[in-house]
Structure formats: C-alpha cells, structure tokens
Amino acid sequence: MAQPFRLSRGGRIDRTRPIVFAFNGKPVHGFAGDTVASALLANGIHLVGRSFKYHRPRGILSHGPDEPSALLSVDRGPGRIDPNNRASVVEARSGLRTTSQNHWPSLEFDVGAVNDLLSPVFVAGFYYKTFMWPRKFWDKVYEPFIRAAAGLGKAPTVADPDRYANRHAHCDVLVVGAGPAGLAAALAAARTGKRVILADEGAEPGGSLLHDTTSQIDGRPAADWLAETLAELDARENVILLPRTTAFGYYNHNHVAMTERVTDHLTSAAGQAPRERLWQVRAEQVVLAGGAHERPLVFADNDRPGILLAESVRVFLNRYGVAPGRRLVFATCGASAYQAALDARAAGLDVTLVDLRLEADCGPELAQLRSAGAEVLTGHTVIGSKGRKRVTGLVVAPVGSDGRCGGRRLLACDCVGMSGGWTPAVHLFSQSRGKLRYDDAIDAFVPNISAQAERSAGAARGTYDLAACVNEGFSAGAAAAGSDERQEVRATPTLTGFQPVRIMPTDANPTKVRAFVDYQNDVTAKDIKLAVREGFQSIEHVKRYTTTGMATDQGKTSNMNALGIVAGQLDKALPAVGTTTFRPPYTPVTFGALVGPARHALFDPIRTTPIHEWAEAHGALFENVALWRRAWYFPKAGEDLHAAVARECKAVREGVGIFDASTLGKIEIVGRDAAEFMNRLYINPWTKLAPGRCRYGLMLKEDGYILDDGVVARVSDECFHVTTTTGGAARVLAHMEDYLQTEWPELEVFLTSTTEQWAVIALQGPKARDVIAPLVDGIDLSPEAFPHMAMRSGTICGVPTRLFRVSFTGELGFEINVPSDHARAVWEAVFAAGRAHGITPYGTETMHVLRAEKGYIIVGQETDGTVTPDDVGMAGMIPKAKGDFVGKRSLARPDVVASGRKQLVGLMTDDPKLVLDEGAQIVADTGQPIPMRMLGHVTSSYWSANCGRSIALALVEGGRERAGGHLHVTTPDGFTRVTVCEPVFFDTKGERINA
C-alpha cells in the first residue's frame, strides 16, 4: 500500500476504495479513479516499455489519448488479452494484469537495446536502402527478419469472448468533448429543448476542469461550475451524456462513429452488458470541442522515463494526487508550463523552470512563479538529459539571440515537465473534410471552412483562455441549436502563449544528437532532416519515408514538430508545407466494436430450405450457393464424392431421384400487361403461350449478353410464374423493376418475389410418375394430358401445388411447387412413396453432372457476362418477327455478329478416364511458341457414370465449325488431346424426356 509518490491530499481519486493490479507480475496499489499510468507513477514506476525500433527505455509521456510510449498489454481474464493499450487511458481496477512490451528477456534488461547502439545504421529509409539485394535473400533472410522485428505487442491467440453492441442514434446537436467549451455548448443547446448527445472519451466529463484547481468561474471554483453544469445536463431528458465514449470517425452527412467502453473499468461486468458499444450517430449539427494536445520539446535524449509533458505533470498532481517526482524541472517555450510549475510548488515540490524565451518576452507568469519560490532560468535552452532508465538531470545552457549557447549547467532532477506549445485537435474537423487555416499567432492549424454542418469551439479551434472557451462553447452550442443566445462568464485568466521552437538550440554536434520527434516510431529530428536532404519535399512523402506520425498515435504529439522541422529545412513557411491527412480512427478502435454482433452465424447469414434438416439427418454434405446452403451429395457409408455422385447419377437415369430445388428464384409477374412485359424482357415469345404451358426463357442485358435463364409457366392470361437461377434471383427482380419503373411505367404489371413462399421438390427419372401418382389429386398425369413443359394446379398429399412437368436432367421429371410450410411433409410423403421404386436423394453435384450430360447450360458457368444466345446455340429461340426486347439491338453490334466468337461445344478426351480441369485453357497447336494463342476454356467437366467416360463443355473460338476436329487442353501434367463434339452426351435424340 506504499504509494510513495501519492500526495497526502487532493485529486479526484477515491481514497476509501483501494485497488490493486499487476504490472509485469508485481502488485501495484492505487485508488479507484486512477488510471494505470497514475497508479504506476504513484508507486514511482516510470520505466514502462521499450521503444519500437531502438528498444530505448520509455516512460509515461502524457496523461491522455495522445500517449505515444506507455503501451501495455492488458489482460482482463481468459481470452481477454489486449495489446498496445495506452496506460494513460486504461482505468486502473483490481484484477487487471498489465505487462510491458517490446523487450526480451525483460523490461529492465533488453537484448534488443543493442539496436540503440547501432542507431547510426537505422537511419530514415533503412529498410529501403538495406534490403535491396541480393534478390534471393528476400524470402529466407530479409522478410523473416523484418516480420520478427515489426509490430508492437502480441496479438491475442484465442477468440474474443466478449459481446459488443451496435447502436444507431439521431440527435439535433452532437457535442464531442466535455471540457469547458463542450459542456457549455451542450448546455446552450439543451436549453433550447433540442435533442443533445454529449460524448467524452474520459472516464469523467470535465476535460481540463478536472485538473484545474486554481481557476474560478464567475467568482467560484471552476469545479463548482463543472458540477452544476453536469447536474443540469443530467437532469434534462433531452440530453444523452456519454462518458468513456470516443468519437473516432467523422463521415459524410454528419455521420459520426463513436465507441463507448462499457465494462472494461468494472471489476465484475454487470450482467449481460456488452464490453463496448459502437454508436453511429446522425446529427443535424455537430460541435467539435475536443481540446488540444501539448507538444514535446525536441532535444537530445528527450525520451527518458521521467520526462513528461508539463500539463500532464499538472494532471497527475491535481487530478490523481500523484507527484511524478520530487525534484521537478520544467522546460518550456511558453506560459502554460508555469501553471504546472505553480501547482507543483503548491504541492510542496522542488521546482526549477527553464524557459527558452527571454525575460522580456515572458508575461506575468514569470513574476508569479518566482514569488512562489521557484528558480526560473529565462533565455535558456535544454542541451540534453542524463540518466538511463529514469531521468536524473537536465543539461541546460543560456542561449543568446545569435543562437550560441553559453556554459552548460546540470539541473539534477527526477522528473521533467516539458512544453513546446499546443496543437488544437482538429482531427475530426479534418475528417469531415473541413479546410484548415494556419494561425501564425498560435503557431497552429485551426478549423477554417466547414464542409459539413459543424463548428468547433474552445481549444480545438485554438482558443485557450478558460472564460473564452466557455463563452465560445456556449455560443457554438446555441447556434447549433438555432439560437443566438449568448453567455458571458468571467474566469481567472489562463496562462497562454508560446514562442514556437522546432529543435532546441544546442552546442552539441548535430550529427550526434538524437532528439526524438515521433516517440512511438522512434523518429528523430536527424531522420527528418536526412529525408529532406535526400530530396523528399512533400510532407506526405517525408511522413512515409521516415514513418513519422504513422504509428498508432497518428503523431498527436509529433506532427507539428515534424512539420516545423521540414519547413525549416526547406526554408519554407509552415503553411506552405501543409499538413498530412487526418484519417479515422482518432484513437485505436477494437475490432470487436466494429464487428459488433456480426460474428459467427451472423457474420455472413446463410439461407436454408425447408428440406435442410431432412438432408442433414440423411447425411448430406452441403455447398454454398450464393447465401444458400444446398445439399451437395448424400454419401452412403464408405463413399467419397465420386462414388456417391456416380451412384446418384445412375439412380436418376435408371429409376427415380429426388432433389431439393427450393433455392430456385421465383417471381410472380401479374397484371394486364404481364405478357407484353415478358416479351420485352426475354428473347422468347410469350403472347401465344397458353395458360398451363411452360417455356424456357433466356434474358439478356441491354448489351446483348446473357443475364439469366429459367423455366416460366403461364398460370393464366395475366399471371406468369417465373423461375430464375439460385444466385440470380435478386438481380433479375431488380433488373425487371428497373425497366418497369423507369422505362415502361405505363405497363400495368406487378412483380413479387415468391422464392421463399414456394418450396420445390424435383422428382426426376423414368419412375417419377409412378411415385407421385398415388399422391396427386385433381391433375391428370398421363403423358397426353400432361406433356413435357406443362404446369398444372392441384393438390399433392392434400397440399395445394403448382406441379411442373419439367426436367433439368433429360429424364421424365416433375417439379412439385408447394407452400414452404408444407414442403417437409410433402417431401417425406413422396420419399416414403418412392421407397418401393428405389428413390434416391441427390444433391447439386449430381444435378450438375446430369444436366451436363444433356448439354444444358448453367448461367455463370457456361456464361460469364460476355456470352450471347448464339454463342451457346440458342439464337434459334428468337422468333424472326419478334419486336424489340432488352438486348435485341446489341445482338446486331459489329463484334457480336463477327465470326470467330467463342461457341459452346462438347469435348471428349482421348483418354476417357481423364477428367479435365474446369477453367483449363485450350489451344489448337502445342508446338507454337509461348505465349500461345488461347482458343477458349473448359466451362464444365465431370466424370459421367451414365456415359462411362469423362465429359466436358467448353467455349471455343469458332467452336461449332471445329466439330470432329482435335484440340489440346492444359492439364497439370501438360497438354492432352480432345475431340470437339456436339454439347450433348446422353440421349442425343432427347426421347427420354417425353416418356
């Protein structure tokens, strides 16, 4: 319970609720309200990780989301290990196990630290320069080495056991950030009665007010204003206040994505609460009040543990009651660090402040701090730091107006608070595609021209004074809610203003100095200068070459320093260099939050037919067809795919097979103009098709290529029962709707998808009629009364049916359409009736083989979006006298009527046992030089048990003219010779179908 660096009083922690968690296996004590970072510091632990590239000892730099260095792996229990968490934002609680990263064998002794000694080698562009040659080294040497060295933290190895929720919300005003400006904005908007959502990434709303112990608002402590404001917002029913919620992405039309961390801070997760909730908010207006980030100073060895940002020192002191050290040195080029120094003095700590600014350039803060008893060295630079795993001193020197440094002085210390000025957090504004403007007065890019209905307020637009933040926030909130209400609070003046410095002046050899700009990716000022010397001028190129700003913190602390150094090297003004692009997410987002409930069965939902469970119970294996899961084949004991399919194929041709065709797309086309509509969409004629008759329909796109096919039955004069391919159903309906609504709105036609309403039981084989005869009522099944390509309505097993006499096998066949709810019962009745006839269930594989034996095409297998009716030998279906239909004009396009198009043919291999590969290429002459001239490819290829040999369909250039000739097809073992034939292999006269 030691916590030697815990102050005796102060802070917003709950000292009555002690907690303990583990860091690298050792217990760390703290209090409820601590972050992991504040608890570590309370215990004097600064060394928390090793840097990415050089494995340098690193500590805690910041108190917030901009932390680049203190990245821990957090273990919340079995399966709940999460790498790369910022210690500064993880709420400490009992039971957490945290571990440092990127070291071996231990944090204290890390072999990888040898990289630091080799740092002259690892300059900017090291990878590009080094891993160039020899070529053969890449696979075996370079890539394994880079992969081992790359990446930070270890990915979890088991599935995430947590649940994640997803919520859509609408509001009039979304306020991002609950600091002084955001709170005031929410208050002003809420008072108009509009619906307000206020989101803040912190555990507690309040922003800077949570650690501002000295300011007053309207004569009372700022904390009182915070409490009253929160109480009013909380009491209003039109306000949703979301703490622990990060707005990470700002998308089109005020669509803002946020993650709410619901349970990570709880010792035992409450009931069924999700771990995180993804909020997708659609706001009429957005107020961005995300605050600002402090810049580090760039000097030699500015990355030692114990060197923090000055404002972060203040946060640890005031909000968490933790002294990050006992002898503090502040280094700054501006006023805000003086407030941190004053607060440290007030906490009884030993304070020295080093200010690069000359005495005359300082404001009232100088006298304030001196009168508080601290030594202040103005006009001094920081040369470097001492120590290794913890800072022990800061080397400073006076610097003249000519930039020359005077005599060095070592300031012994155990903590440094540095401040290089402030950068407004314009990330979300930039994501919204707003345009930035460089404001010279505060050396920062600020929001300028909005692209969406949003406005920024407070530090996020470069306003740093407390009263100004509150008043600006209030106005912004009111304006967002359509009101011009204003509020003028008075507050203690904030210490603001700084003189920007890119690199601290030094008397050291600039080629030896290692001053870090990007802590997370280990990029030094020297690296950036080198990149510019090597010719990189665009900031986007410098970024990628040096990797500055490309780590998971996206350069929140480093970007402005990097920009400034590039501008200085190029001798350009900073705005002329511009900024890199801000992209979502603002801070890292868990995959869980993005995926939400869409996992496992919900990730990619599947569709099943009413027969699915029967097929499962009868041992079917399944294949995916579009979203459907279809029975593929029904193996008996000891059978593999080939044996089962061979048996099923013979059973259908010799007896009877039963097949679940429910996935067929079905569309009911009804209305006065139904036949005319059909005429315009299909190549076939429909006007004279009698009710009760069927026709195979082929549908083209306007470009003349085959879109879909299927059997169509005319139910009545004004009603067609259309079937489509399984995968094409939605596409065909959309295609029909498009033409109906946009080209021919005058037609009176109604389109209804009935795919799910009708289940289809296909009964195929010479004994099919015998099987169903006892079950069917009201339909004369005789061949004369019910010929091939007819449809009758009646009942089967007492269930209403549209009974089709159709065949996709070339055998006598029926497709029994019944309402889906009755399908399982009918299926089982038919199956029971079929037992006496040796009925065999078959799957999609057998269906494919049987139709290929007959040369029936499958759209999407024999066609690929560039195939015309003539290419597959179906041009004869188009009546000469038929008027316009979709695609007709394109059939006269020059390239469609040209000779030499690929045409559907059959192929027979010289070796009847050899089954060709689908997709295999076809050539005429194997002796020709490479690259050879490809004539086409194999589209379907199977072993045909009924033919006793392999069969194949193919698209071949000028294929029909090649009938009887030889071609050569690629196989894994080289070419094999084939003979071109008609694309029909079984019952070539087509007599069986009319049985």
């Binding site: 039309h253 498009d738 609504q741 946009t742």
Partner: protein
C-alpha cells in the same frame, strides 16, 4: 455514410440504397433504328462530372422505388431528389445528358 432523401420515404442511410448511375438517359423508342455509334454511346458512354451530377438511385432496402437525385460529386451533397419521370427544379437541365 451518405444520408439520402428518398422522395417517398424521407431521409435514410446510404446502405438502404443502390446507385444506378447517370440519370435521364432515355432508352431509344426503337433501338433497331439507332446506328452502331449512337447505340454504343447509349450503352457505354457516361458523364463523370466534377460537380453536380444527375443520378438514378433505388431505395432497394426500403420502398423499392427508383428515383433521381442531383449530387455534387465534390462535396457529396445532395441538392435535390425527385421522382422518376420528373425533372429537377434546382439545376439547369443542360448540364446533364439527354
């Protein structure tokens, strides 16, 4: 994600819609009388303006109806949505084809 005002249902998120490309391209009344050049133009050539663009959209996961929209391709702002067969009120027709 875009927010699109379906003329029949009101504002809905982009995921409920399907874009059908450039609007106001009328299918020739008798395509067989159109020469090859004009037909290929009709089939394949589309405008790709930087600025205001008239597009077809279908509220496919809503009312299922097609409508037209004027969208600024620079800002992604929808200037107007209007039913099939109607003309936009806020933008001169001359900037769209046919």
């Amino acid at each position: 994600m875009l927010l699109i005002a379906c003329p029949h249902c009101g504002k809905r998120p982009e995921t409920e819609f399907r874009c059908g490309g450039q609007a106001h391209i009328a299918r020739p009344a008798d395509p067989m009388t159109v020469d090859d050049g004009a037909w290929s133009e009709h089939l394949f050539v589309r405008a790709n303006p930087k600025g205001v663009h008239a597009e077809r959209w279908c509220h496919v996961h809503g009312c299922g109806r097609w409508f037209n929209a004027l969208r600024d391709t620079i800002s992604d702002r929808f200037i107007e949505t209007y039913p099939m067969g109607a003309k936009p009120t806020q933008f001169p027709q001359s900037e769209t084809r046919a």
